[in-house]
């Protein structure tokens, strides 16, 4: 139990739990403040006051807010996420239907963007101040500056409308074979990658440049070590801490970006479920999705901290 890795995991899990509880409080407070009444919304404008009162009682909306919160929190702890207000299905079932598709999209995006960003960052750092670096700088700056929905629309205009190469909407059910898979995922993944790659590449570049300026890199050069090996073998292990944290922060953006991208491409993931839930005032569903996103973010941070720890012998061997 004295290994620093276990200690870190324990500490991080503990603080993650506290964060989740605080977040649950905030989410609950905000969703309670949303205007409108779920019961009225579900039953439509012609419902009698009796019907509304009955549904309110069934949904537990007639209870005071602190009690509702505790009830909900208790449900979360025991894995009962509640029942969706708008379509009467367990929230967990609804999420389970949509989550895999979102995870797949996020996973593919990660697999494409992280290596690409690391590569761009390394090349920029190695050719600092030279033409390749300046060119990459301009490109990544532009990529950060353009909003993702605009990228998505431009991609659709070009590849779906004008060239007709790719489908404008992502119907997963139409996938038969690798070609279809690539055609369906090309634009959503490209949209998500634009911003992600740019952010991560710039952070990688800065972290590496910091290391490349240090005395031990000069020493390595004076030992006759080539520039590629200097970056990969010498600088990178020392830059992993900041790089991993930058990647975790960028990927946490992914959860927000995915909402926009899934909506634009009509991709059947978690995001469209959540957007529908908000417009339907389906509080249990909104709350569960928000908690899920938060937990995902905390997991990313934990992984980043672990990577930083494992890369640093000073911390690892203590």
């Amino acid at each position: 139990m004295h290994s620093p890795v276990l200690r870190l995991i324990g500490r991080q899990l503990g603080s993650a739990l506290i964060t989740l509880i605080l977040v649950s409080l905030v989410i609950f407070a905000i969703t309670s403040l949303l205007p409108g009444d779920t019961a009225k919304l579900v039953l439509g404008q012609f419902a009698t006051p009796d019907q509304v009162a009955a549904l309110r009682a069934k949904l537990g909306l007639d209870q005071p807010a602190p009690l509702r919160y505790l009830h909900w929190l208790g449900g979360l702890m025991t894995g009962h996420l509640g029942v969706s207000a708008s379509n009467d299905m367990p929230v967990s079932t609804l999420i389970a239907q949509r989550l895999p598709a979102s995870l797949l999209l996020a996973g593919i995006t990660t697999l494409v963007s992280v290596p690409l960003a690391l590569g761009i960052g390394m090349i920029s750092a190695m050719y600092r101040g030279r033409l390749a670096d300046s060119a990459l700088n301009v490109v990544t700056l532009a990529m950060v500056a353009i909003p993702d929905f605009l990228v998505a629309i431009l991609l659709i205009l070009l590849f779906a409308v004008h060239l007709g190469w790719l489908p404008a909407l992502s119907y997963i059910s139409s996938i038969h074979g690798v070609g279809d898979f690539l055609r369906v995922y090309a634009m959503p993944v490209a949209t998500l990658c634009t911003v992600l790659v740019a952010q991560m590449a710039r952070m990688t570049r800065i972290a590496l440049i910091n290391e490349l300026d240090s005395a031990y890199i000069e020493m390595a050069r004076l030992k006759g070590i080539g520039p590629v090996r200097c970056v990969l073998v010498h600088a990178l292990p020392n830059a992993i801490g900041p790089i991993a944290n930058a990647i975790a922060l960028s990927l946490s953006y992914l959860m927000g970006g995915i909402v926009i991208v899934e909506t634009i491409f009509n991709y059947p993931g978690l995001a469209s479920l959540m957007v529908d839930a908000v417009s339907n005032q389906d509080l249990p569903l909104v709350q569960a999705c928000a908690m899920l996103f938060c937990a995902f973010y905390l997991l990313l941070i934990l992984l980043a901290e672990l990577a930083a720890l494992l890369a640093n012998p000073k911390l690892r061997t203590r």
Binding site: Y216, L222, K223, P237
Partner: protein
Amino acid sequence: MTESISASRFGESLTVSGLRVVARPYRGAPETPIVDDITFSLPAGEVLALIGETGSGKSTIALALMGHARRGCRLADGRIMLGEISVLEASERTLRGLRGDRIAYIAQSATAAFNPAKTLMAQVIEGVVIHGQMSRSKARDKARALFAELMLPDPEHIGDRYPHEVSGGQLQRAMAAMALISDPALIILDEPTTALDVTTQIEVLQTFKRVVRERGATAVYVSHDLAVVAQVADHVLVLNQGRVCELATVDQIIHAPADDYTRRLMEAARPTTDKPADRDTTDSASHGEELLRIDHLHVGYGPLGEDGRPAHTVLENLSLQLNTGRALGVIGESGSGKSTMAHAIAGLVPPHNGGVSFKRRELPYALSGRDQQQFRDIQMVFQSADNALNAAHSVRRILERPLQRYFDYTRDERHARVRELLDLVHLPSRVLSVRPGALSGGQKQRVNLARALAAEPSLIICDEVTSALDTVVSEAILNLLNDLRRELGVAYLFISHDISTVRRVCDDLMVLRAGRCVEYGACPTTIDAPQHAYTRQLIASIPELRTDWLDRQDFSSG
């Protein structure tokens, strides 16, 4: 073992002619030479010392010998011949082949020059393995033999450790192993002992001297310390502002320096044995009022143990008394706790036991418990003026800040006081509008001192105030400190690792070792007739300006 690794190849001769390195401080700026017209030749197997002050270009030349220029610099002109190889005409690929094979480099700070994420062994053998000079397992064997030859502890396994797991002196030896593993024809040593404690420096110097001589390698030794250079070099090249002042044998430089600048360097390097006339050296207790008194001070960190003491002790049972207008020198090597002592008095580190009183009033441990008067009365001057002065503030703003905090001056009074302060530290008033970045190292330290004086303190804690400065500049700062004490009657707690600077300023001397006071007494008597063996060792470890000094030192004295 030593037989099998002794050099099979001899050193090569080195000829440099008309070397010029230029720098472009920022994009679009004109190129300015850092070193110019450097010409010398060194026969195979001999040692040349490059000596000069900060900014004289000695490291630039050392790096140029390997065909390397730092960022923003360019090797503009000249010829460097190592044997038959022309270094400056070699392609990048050829250069890479030369470095870590025929030419080896030993850097100033081994702590910074070792990659913290890799084991010592991986870094020591990397060069020869990459160059295909030997197989990984052969390289490991040779590295272990070198570790043994360089007298590293546990040579079989020390290679498996990471840089932070060994001491500074050991790292410096490991770096020597890294340089020697390829049996280089030319070894470049860039201030290899500057970052080490004096007692460690001796041992490392002796080892370096022996291995370089045994291998018959040609070596270039970069240093700012003439006394160190006198021990290892055959020839000395004195540099001033990027140009050659004098090139001669080491005996000539020491006994008959021809150049003015060389003579000035020699002056500054010779320890001043004569006591400044204006200082009385009588017993401190009989002078002045009691200012600072420390009784049985204990400082540590970490969780408290069962006996109520912290897990790691830094200072143990420390007592001292400092009277008004007196100067107490605290001397010790790195890790002896001398800075911790300063921090405890300044209120930056809470002691866990012991009494501190100031002007016969108890001085609370924590800053939050101290009143305005106590804040004002104790001021601190840090080693690095670069870090202590806010780089974004002008000198005027830096000096006015304490005046606004402690005194109710009008605007005009404040301006007048700032000018007075500048006069005190001998700075022209035109520095007021500039930021610290535009000042030289010595000027920055003067501003640093003026900032402390602005509060009109009775005690100034000086933490290694001259260690970042060149000898000539630090002489001037020490003189200034003495003048200020005479004029203002301020007391100093003067912390240093260098006995000769303490001698220049202090009345009393305290020697710290591993958090304990081993000797405490009047300064001249303690230095001239040290009672404790450790004090004797410290004093004996300071290199003297004689070429035979190192060889006469008994290694086992520590």
